[in-house]
Assembly symmetry: C2
Homo-oligomer: 187 residues x 2
């Protein structure tokens, strides 16, 4: 027998700043889950990917399923600074700066219940964006907007300003046993 589900509303509604960080798998996945659940509640969601892009992104196809309530913007070239990266630092930074401008526009528009800045923590760590720019997004958000910032190496000042911080720790990964990334789990 399946169970009926009721909903309770909080007495005081608040927009939360949530940081999802750590070296483990599941930060972007968790953000996708937030998007799915928020759309289920009838909220509008804006998902901006700061870094990923070139390879292994099923995210774009999946978020289309949530249109028009959710929209995704993939802004980065992906994999900045790692082996085989064909782009200059200045090109990565230019993309990230465009992503910051878009984030600012979306956050302050008042049109969304949730804005997700995926991999923005990495962008900050790699100096593609600057700390004051990220803090400005947090400090300038509408009171009821939930703002989600993902990516490893979250800056201490960003964590300090967040209401909720989760760290995903990799205990074990299939890669370590020589298993390639698998569709449906790894991308």
């Amino acid at each position: 027998m399946e169970t009926e589900v009721k909903h309770l509303e909080p007495v005081k509604k608040t927009g939360l700043t949530v940081v999802i960080t750590g070296n483990g798998k599941g930060k972007t996945t968790s953000a996708l889950g937030i998007a799915l659940r928020a759309v289920g509640h009838g909220m509008k969601v804006c998902f901006i990917q700061f870094m990923k892009g070139d390879i292994h992104s099923g995210e774009l196809d999946s978020i289309k399923r949530l249109a028009p309530e959710a929209e995704m913007h993939v802004m980065g070239k992906g994999f900045c600074g790692i082996m085989g990266d064909p782009y200059k630092f200045s090109e990565h930074r230019e993309d990230a700066q465009k992503a910051i401008a878009l984030a600012k526009e979306k956050i302050t528009s008042g049109a969304y219940g949730v804005v997700i800045l995926d991999e923005i923590n990495n962008s900050l760590k790699l100096k593609l964006v600057d700390l004051p720019q990220v803090l400005d997004l947090i400090d300038g958000k509408p009171p009821l907007l939930h703002l989600v910032l993902t990516g490893r190496d979250a800056h201490p000042e960003v964590k300090k300003r967040a209401d909720t911080v989760s760290e995903i720790v990799e205990i074990k990964h299939a890669f370590q046993q020589g298993i390639e990334p698998q569709k449906g789990i790894d991308y």
Copy 2:
């Protein structure tokens, strides 16, 4: 300028066993993200909730957005053994046993690319299901099926059998500052 996304397929396809555990927020959320992404890849998903039920579940509404490729079964009464729980242990166990039977049926059906057993780790910890039952599900899964087991306190034997294990650690939570659970983030 937004970036075009390409897809690469692994040479050797494998169905992974993934454990998402830890005391932090985001285990079920991460599983919802897996469901969303898998549906984006055209895979069929079965999501079985072992424990939750009574309060604060936007999950049911959201997963409906992914029908018919994704289906959700909420099997538990929720919040076993905590203050105010009106049900007997035997009633919780009966529900969990039905969930195990359903999981076995879905896993062995061959009809799904991903099966998610949400909060099964807690069910095992609370003795609503038994270790051999959970190991039997893992050992008996079709080779290409991804099996995802979530919930805090994952059993060491379950983690041992998994390909990928992520632990979500709570660094900070809005509850601690007296903020009620908020729609779109906490449920």
